[in-house]
């Protein structure tokens, strides 16, 4: 599903942020990515969601070497990846509803076909009354939920989330993680960067720890949430 072989990453020829990373994540797996701030978690995720290219090494996604893909093929591949950005990246002049449906609109879906699903999802994440609001009127936590809704709405094969619970209270954090857990049970591969012990220790999923440019695999540590 995701395979990195001898992957290095530096920005503009600077020091390597990631050094010779070897990593393979199976289809349908759920991993947390932890590590101190500045370790390169976001950088690693960027490689995986195709926002950046490895400086060296090979990255395979969905069984294809990313380097061999054309721009059009890369765009099609990105449609199979739902991304929750650390800074949300909602579009200011669009309503919550319009932001969340963006992936469907870009994929050429008809509004009549998805309207009900979107409404349901937005209610579920507690944004039922703010569908027509602009992002600037939302709290940090609400923006985060909208960002998560946008990442999952098109039922991608892979969901990559960068600190998706950074701005919500623990209870909402668990609730959002459960949404991702449910999607994972239906086969979606999930990778979540977080520095929030409470979150990763509440779920029975393996952890990848990134520190000093290297990755360490750690077994699940906690009992699953009840």
């Amino acid at each position: 599903m995701i395979r990195l072989q001898n992957v290095c990453l530096n920005y503009d020829g600077g020091p390597n942020i990631l050094d010779n990373i070897d990593l393979a994540l199976d289809e349908g797996s759920f991993h947390f990515l932890t590590g101190p701030s500045g370790a390169g978690k976001t950088s690693l995720l960027k490689l995986i969601f195709l926002a950046h290219r490895p400086s060296a090494g090979q990255l395979d996604l969905f069984g294809q070497n990313v380097k061999t893909l054309t721009r059009a093929q890369l765009a099609m591949m990105r449609r199979q990846i739902g991304v929750v950005f650390q800074d949300f990246r909602l579009i200011d002049h669009l309503s919550v509803y319009q932001n969340v449906t963006l992936p469907l609109r870009i994929a050429g879906k008809r509004e009549a076909d998805y309207r009900d699903n979107v409404t349901e999802l937005l209610r579920w994440v507690g944004l039922g009354h703010q569908m027509d609001s602009k992002p600037e009127t939302l709290s940090g936590g609400e923006k985060q939920r909208a960002a998560i809704a946008r990442a999952v709405i098109a039922r991608p094969r892979l969901i990559v989330a960068d600190e998706p619970t950074g701005n919500v209270d623990p209870e909402m954090g668990i609730r959002l993680l459960r949404l991702l857990d449910e999607l994972n049970k239906m086969g979606t591969t999930i990778l979540i960067a977080t520095h929030d012990n409470y979150i990763w220790s509440s779920f029975n999923h393996p952890r990848l720890h990134l520190e000093n440019q290297h990755i360490q695999r750690l077994a699940p540590e906690a009992a699953p949430y009840v």
Binding site: A75, M77, R78, R89, I91, R105, D132
Partner: protein, 286 residues
């Protein structure tokens, strides 16, 4: 609940795009292009009409020389005319006709009857044969030194030169206006890409193809150019309509067809410039 359909809101906010300034520049450019093109067309037509008339107007003027009066030279001239290929009819103007020709310059009744007038022969070329102008000129010099053949050749040449210069000048204006408009649209597109960078990042990450993103820009600039060039065209139309009282051609339908070319070409032009620039700069992304 959804008064505004999701598809109705443009993905790139119009306020993030070049607006009034670009519109104004494009209006002026279209107007300039229309004026340049329109005036060449009008001058071309006037020149052409004048030339067809001038070509058929050949005349011979006979003046007194030291040894012969005009009347004494006339029979020889008429003989030569009759023998020259390409000459159709000719007709010697009588005194009344001559006076009528001169009146606009000298005033009615001011021409005394004993004023020495030259002889004037109007010649209509025979359209079926080539008029042997040089041969006739040579023969006339030989037999009647006071005769001068006037074919308006120099006039015609000058007029043709002027029309050519004007065509060239208008062509230059059109090229410059096109380049300037292209540059302005290019810069506006570039600014649009820059202001909307955050949105483009998101669209790109969500899996939008380059052509999808490019179409957002194309739509905006095509619409803007369409409005601006229509306004510029209307302004030019008003100008030429007013000019129509002096130059009737400026109100003709055929002339309008020429003018319409300007907005009709401006729109696809701005479309292609925008598309080219957006597609090229998107390719530099990951």
């Amino acid at each position: 609940m959804f008064e505004k359909s999701a598809a109705a809101t443009p993905l790139l906010p119009p306020r993030n795009m070049a607006g009034p300034a670009l519109l104004a520049v494009t209006v002026v450019m279209t107007l300039l292009a229309c004026l340049a093109l329109g005036s060449t067309v009008l001058v071309d037509r006037a020149a052409e009409r004048w030339l067809t008339r001038a070509t058929s107007a050949v005349s011979i003027q006979i003046v007194e020389t030291r040894s012969q009066t005009a009347d004494e030279q006339l029979p020889a001239v008429l003989r030569e005319l009759a023998a020259t290929p390409g000459v159709g009819n000719f007709h010697v103007l009588d005194k009344d006709e001559l006076i009528r020709l001169l009146e606009p310059w000298l005033g009615t009744g001011n021409i005394s009857t004993d004023l020495p007038l030259p002889l004037l022969i109007e010649v209509s070329p025979d359209p079926t044969a080539k008029f042997a102008e040089e041969a006739l000129r040579a023969r006339l010099t030989a037999v009647a030194p006071g005769a001068r053949l006037d074919t308006h050749g120099r006039w015609r040449e000058m007029l043709e030169r002027m029309a050519r210069a004007l065509r060239f000048f208008a062509g230059l204006v059109l090229v410059m206006v096109t380049l300037a408009t292209g540059t302005v649209i290019l810069f506006a597109t570039r600014a649009g890409l820059k202001t909307n960078e955050d949105i483009l990042d998101v669209l790109h990450q969500i899996g939008a193809q380059d052509s999808f993103i490019s179409r957002r820009f194309e739509k905006h600039f095509v619409k803007l150019t369409a409005i601006a060039s229509a306004l510029g065209f209307l302004a030019a139309l008003a100008f030429f309509y007013a000019l129509g009282s002096l130059v009737p051609d400026a109100r003709s339908a055929a002339f309008l067809v020429y003018l319409v070319c300007v907005p009709a070409l401006a729109v696809p032009f701005s479309w292609q410039v925008t598309r080219y620039y957006v597609m090229t700069s998107l390719k530099t992304r990951v």
